[in-house]
Symmetry: C2
Subunit: 349 residues, 2 copies
DNA sequence: CCGATGCATGCAAACGCTTACATTGGTCAC
DNA sequence: GTGACCAATGTAAGCGTTTGCATGCATCGG
């Protein structure tokens, strides 16, 4: 019944030859190859993924592990990766792994997480994994290693695993220094809450770099200028209202740790009757689709490109290129738009 | 070598019993089941997906076909479906099938589309498909049928296939009638471009219903009040600027075919110095995450719930429930927020 | 002209499970 | 007590490929 058998008969060859021809192996004569292809076409034959996987040990399937499915950023990454993998003939299996320490994460959440590791990731359904912004405890890391599958992390912190990440420190320095070089001296920062946010490291790293830049510029840091918020438009909006409404401070610029927060900041400023950038400059990080629309100055981190890059890495590894597991760096770029300018009270340097 | 063998030996039973115990079949004594589970645990054994699929013909994998990966709406749907499927032990394989008639779609795009059908969807990698807003030509529909796999469509038009859709006509009527009942008489409509937009039917259906409602109210339709735009914030923004800047018309309300366009409309109105809802009311469709933030009145179509619902349908079908392939209707609800009010020049009815 | 070399192909053994069918032993009604 | 029946388990035949090894045949250098 094996379907490949029928193709073999129609083409007048053995199943071995059909398999080889369809897999594009070299040792098949052009004539035979054509015959086989025609036979396969006529019968509408397509190799059974399960049988092929079982026999070859390869699935032509890559698992993508995402912490969030409804975030613009991760979807941009997914989109980039998807395209490359599809072109290479790989399917994508999606795994949703919510952050372990998420706000209000109860036992149920932990169990889901555990189940994903125990039950889903280990079925040998994929040849390799792409893990986006994944943070693991030791046990989980051990489990992943036992899978003996290539795994490339994108962002996040995976000690000992092959990871490519954005240089968050450099990015935050660049953003802060951009504002400083425009002449701003009272620069506020909106960041994520390290206790509750997924992805613990990123907000902290960015905040530290911001503080370092401020200090380097010879400016005394003022803790009142730093506010914590959700990584959303609404979070940025609320934080900005608080920043601009606090009589003890008079920021002329805001550095938001994400574009969505920055957009919230712009909207909040408008609602308070402040002009951007005349009264207040705003800069974000990401390169969000909407940044251009809002005229937002940002540090673009090319999320879609990140997806492509990590997919390429995986493909190389699967192709047998022993990719050296160094932590590579992703590109970023300052994109200046209308939301930043010199402050009113200070001449441009 | 078969790993199940080792578990069988450790537990002191046959591989058949191990298989049955791990699959949760009934005819295994509690004692044996426990033994097997312990042995499996100790060895870190997990059933090989490929072998299991080959032997059983079931993959425990559902394919989700999306037209767009970077749209809020589809991701919300995906999120809803993901959760249910994961709970049921199903993996999700993601397929990206860009609309055939997309703006500027060249041969390359057609080839990609064709390849997806020929090469990816037919590998028997999944037990069933969920197709979101999928539009097919006859050939493609035939190919899908040949797969002999359950297929449930969500939105979109799949004649002859099991589909659940929003009643776009009712939704658009509801939106328009809401504005009419507030006393508006000059109501603009922002819709998608049927020539270039994915998902041909939706904008047209909504526009027709809008026109019908207007006419029913005894108001003469004015084609100038209808504008075409991208389904984005930017699209809505630009369209609204044109609507409000046209001296020949004086709309007091705008019905946008999506929340993102509606948000664009609100932003455009503000930029033109018009107050929402005092000078101009705005209503959208979707139930977008940001609708609440912007105070947007909308017809919520509960996208995440849609995902859950379609996933449940698939699960039922896979469980052998012969689900009758009627076109079911999805719920929707008018959510009134700050963006709609009675027009200044007319008393509330 | 001959053995060596190598390409194209066939043969058949895995790959790691599931499941129909067979077997066993115990329960139960009569 | 005994046959019928059922629950629990084992046996073994697939499931549809891939691939190592063997084979056949042609080419080639000497």
């Amino acid at each position: 019944m094996a379907k490949i058998q029928k193709v073999a008969e129609l083409a007048g060859v053995s199943t071995a030859t059909v398999s080889r021809a369809l897999a594009g192996k070299s040792s098949v004569s052009p004539a035979t190859r054509t015959k086989v292809e025609e036979a396969a076409n006529e019968l509408g034959y397509v190799v059974s993924a399960a049988a092929s996987s079982l026999a070859s040990g390869k699935t032509r399937n890559v698992g993508v592990i995402l912490p969030l499915l409804d975030s613009w950023f991760f979807m941009a990454v997914l989109k980039g990766a998807q395209r490359l993998l599809e072109d290479a003939g790989y399917d994508i299996t999606l795994y949703h792994l919510p952050p372990a320490g998420e706000l209000g994460a109860g036992d149920a959440s932990k169990q889901r997480r555990r189940r994903l590791f125990d039950e889903f990731l280990r079925r040998q359904r994929v040849d390799a994994f792409i893990a986006v912004n994944l943070e693991l405890d030791d046990e989980e890391r051990a489990l992943l290693s036992q899978l003996r599958r290539p795994l490339v992390g994108l962002g996040g912190v995976l000690p000992g695993l092959h990871t490519v990440t954005l240089d968050d420190k450099a990015v935050a320095h660049l953003a802060t220094d951009h504002l400083l070089s425009l002449g701003h001296t009272e620069i506020a920062h909106i960041t994520g809450d390290p206790d509750f946010e997924r992805d613990f490291q990123v907000p902290t790293t960015r905040r530290r770099a911001y503080e370092a830049s401020i200090t380097n510029a010879g400016i005394t840091r003022n803790p009142l200028l730093v506010r914590t918020a959700d990584f959303t438009i609404e979070g940025g909006y609320n934080a900005t209202k608080q920043l601009l409404g606090d009589p003890r401070i008079h920021p002329t610029a805001i550095f938001a740790a994400s574009d969505e927060m920055a957009i919230g900041a712009i909207l909040a400023a408008r609602d308070l009757g402040k002009d951007v950038p005349r009264d207040i400059s705003v800069i974000g990080i990401d390169g969000h689709d909407l940044a251009d629309f809002f005229g937002l100055t940002t540090i673009d981190q090319f999320p879609e490109l990140q997806g492509r890059q990590v997919a390429q890495l995986i493909l190389d590894e699967l192709a047998g290129q022993g990719v050296e597991p160094i932590a590579e760096e992703l590109p970023h770029e300052l994109v200046v738009r209308r939301s930043t300018a010199a402050p009113l009270d200070a001449p441009t340097r």
